[in-house]
Structure formats: C-alpha cells, structure tokens
Symmetry: C2
Subunit: 215 residues, 2 copies
DNA sequence: GACTAATTGAAACATCTGTTTAAATTGGAA
DNA sequence: TTCCAATTTAAACAGATGTTTCAATTAGTC
C-alpha cells in the first residue's frame, strides 16, 4: 500500500499556507486545493483540521529539537561540561535558523514556530508543550552552568526575551532588510545566527538591574 | 445625539476578543454578542470587519506613541541631547508596558500590538505603518546618538531583536511566571521594564560579533 | 482473476461567515 | 407636537466553513 504521497502533500501545503496566513485564516479547502487532493482526504488521513495543524508541527519539531540536543551533547562532551555561553545559545538558535533554509517547507515551518510562540492562547502549543519541555529543561541546566551566579528571576525574564527575539526573527525574514535599506541580509544565515547569539549572550551576562528608579 | 456608547462598546469587545483569539478567529457575531449590540452596528459604525480591526488599533496607538515621543523629548531637553541608552529604551518600552495595566482594555490592546508584529503578512500592520514610522525614525536618531560607532547592520539586527523581545513580553504575561514557578511577577511592571531595558541595553552595547566561525 | 481492505471522489450536510436590506425606533430641533 | 435624521432592530443574503456520506476506484494478497 502506498501510504501514498497524499498525506505529505497535504502537510506540505498546509505548512506553507499556515505560515503565510496563520492557522485560523486558512480553510481546509484552500489546503486541499493547493495540495491537489480531495476535501475528504484531510478528515480521512488526519481526522480534523485541528489534528492537521498538530501534525504539521509534529513532523518537523522532533528533528529540530533532536538536532539542538545533539549539538548540546557534542559541546558538553568536547568541553567536559565547561561549555561557553555562546555555544549553548548556538545549539538553541542555529538549528532553527538553519532549518529555515532547507529546501522543503522548512522555511514555512520555522515561521510557524515563531507564530506559535507569539499566539499565547494557542491550543496547539499546549498540545506540543511536552515536546518543548524536555528540550528546555536540558538547556536550562546548560545555561545555569554557564551562569552560576544569576538570580532565578533574572534568568527566566531573559530567557523569555531570548525566545521573543528568536520568534520574531524566525517569523519575519524581511523587516531587518527593509528597515536597514538592505544592510541586513536575511539569507546570510551565519550572520543571523552570529547576531542573535551575540545579542542574547550580552543580555544574559548583563549585570543585575539596579533597584527600581522612580520616574 | 448620543454618539452613543455603541461604538466604544464594540471597540472594547473587539479589542478584548482579538487579543485573546487573534484577528482571524473572531467573528463579528462574537463581537456584537459580547458588546450587546446588533449585528448591523458594526457595518453601520465602521463599514466592515477590517475597518473595525483598524479602528481598534488606531484608538490607542496614537496616545501610546505620543507618550513615547513625549518621554524622549523630556529626556533630550533635560540632558541636552546626551541621553543615556537606558533612557531611550525606557521611553520606547515603558509606555507600552504601562499601558498594559491600565483599567480599560489596555491589557488587551498591548497584546494586540505584540500580535501585530508577530504576524508578518498582516494587512492591518501595513495600514498602520505610517503611525509607527514616525516614532521609529525619531528613536533611530536617538539610538544612533547613544551608539555613534555601531555598524548599520548590527544596529538594525539588534533593533529587530528588541522588537521581538518586546512583542513576546507584551503578548504573553504568563509564561515567565509559569516557567520560573512564580519567581517572575508579571504584575510588577517596574520590574518588567527594568529587566527589558537592561537586557536590550546590554544587547545593543555588545561588541561586534567576530568573523563567522565554521561549525 | 477474485477477494478484501485502503484510499479517493463528488456531492451534500448543517452551520457559520461578513454583509445588506428595509422597517422600526429613537432623540433633538423647529 | 411635528418633523427629520441618526440609530437600532430583525430578517435575510450569498457564499464559505468544517465535516460526513457513500459510491467508485485503487492496490495488495490469496
């Protein structure tokens, strides 16, 4: 039996459309049309539109997070636990940014991940939470080791800011190039990664903000 | 003639619902229902759903950006042009964060702004672009003055990361508190502002990333 | 080739979508 | 009170939505 290309063609089309227009603004009919399959296929293969959304995310999420953990493992075994902050950030950031240049819908998927984080009340994110949790716990340990003196509250605020910077960068390729009149090149992925890593490392290392100043 | 509360009740309901579920996932019928008005009211008062979305944003965007510019003016006149980087960031960030605790839907609106920036292909953002542009140009000048040596490309990448950190922080109040098991208090706005300003200042000041390392 | 299960197809399901109509109601000005 | 415009109402519009049905087709196994 060909577990025929139908499923993948639906996933590819959905991934692309969702990334471009958001989850709620894409109908199953648009998906089946650009996939070139029948309307019923979605419910036959996935059960519902919501399940399709989840399937779209799941397909690439595992490889992405596996690569992150693989890099982290590599650095930790190489440096015997004394991994540089920049390397931890690199392991977190680079796989996502690099996925965005992969041939197949990687570009779309990566924008979807950004979208996922920016849409708080998203049921999809809830369902994928477990998949992220494992990764973040591993990275938390790695970060804590490179920043032993940091206060818990400072650490988590800054991780949140890092996720925000990552999300928008994955979501929106074009804005930096547009604002800078071409000085920023969204296709130079090594540059994007370098910039993100340097920015986040500086933010994580910054001294504790002094007591609230009244304004 | 009562330019009756109807318009404002629609705006309030729409603001709240859009913030919670996104633009595309909220129907005009949900809006009129929670606003307690008739279906036709939206088209009578605003013309279309899209015009309503724009009206929701416009209502609070001008006061927000006015306050940003007012703060920047205040600091520039006080310090005779030698404004500290932290103060420029404060003028950009604090009004948005503070709006998020105002009684009326400010909280919702501020999440909407975050959403706006995270949804790239958004026609609404296109229409509101002018309103943002004036503000950003003013802030660009102020930033450049505090960072005279920065490369154009570094500057715009970092501004992009700052917008990302801001967006997610405005969008999602709860995540830092949840991840940190309560160490981060999303209601302590002075703390949020301090954290964001310190993080972004460190990121902006960080040394130029060294030449690409091959991995 | 015949049987069976997996897959696809066209059509219809009820419900929801944004929008419009036209009649009813309101409230201030004359 | 009369009048007129501004506003609100209920009903309907055409089309899109996610989903289901069931017959037609496909493909692998005996």
């Amino acid at each position: 039996m060909t577990a025929s290309g139908t499923q993948e063609r639906i996933l590819d089309a959905a991934e692309c459309l969702f990334a471009e227009h958001g989850f709620g603004d894409v109908s199953v009919r648009q998906v089946v049309h650009t996939a070139g399959v029948n309307v019923a296929s979605i419910h036959y293969h996935f059960g519902s539109k919501e399940a399709l959304v989840e399937a779209v995310m799941s397909r690439r999420l595992k490889p992405l997070n596996d690569e992150r953990l693989r890099l982290l493992d590599e650095y930790e075994s190489r440096d015997e636990g004394e991994v540089a902050l920049e390397d931890v950030l690199y392991a977190l950031i680079a796989p996502a940014v690099k996925l965005s240049r992969s041939r197949k819908g990687g570009k779309s998927f990566v924008r979807l991940v950004g979208r996922l984080f920016a849409e708080p009340s998203n049921t999809v994110l809830e369902r994928l939470k477990d998949r992220f949790e494992v990764v973040f716990i591993r990275f938390h340990r790695a970060f804590k080791r490179t920043l032993p003196a940091i206060r818990k509250r400072d650490y988590f605020w800054r991780i949140h800011f890092i996720l925000g910077a990552m999300s928008l960068t994955l979501c929106d390729r074009e804005r930096p190039a547009a604002w800078s009149e071409g000085s920023c090149d969204p296709d130079d992925l090594d540059e994007v990664i370098q910039q993100l890593v340097a920015f986040c490392a500086a933010g994580l290392r910054s001294p504790v903000p002094r007591k609230k100043r009244k304004r």
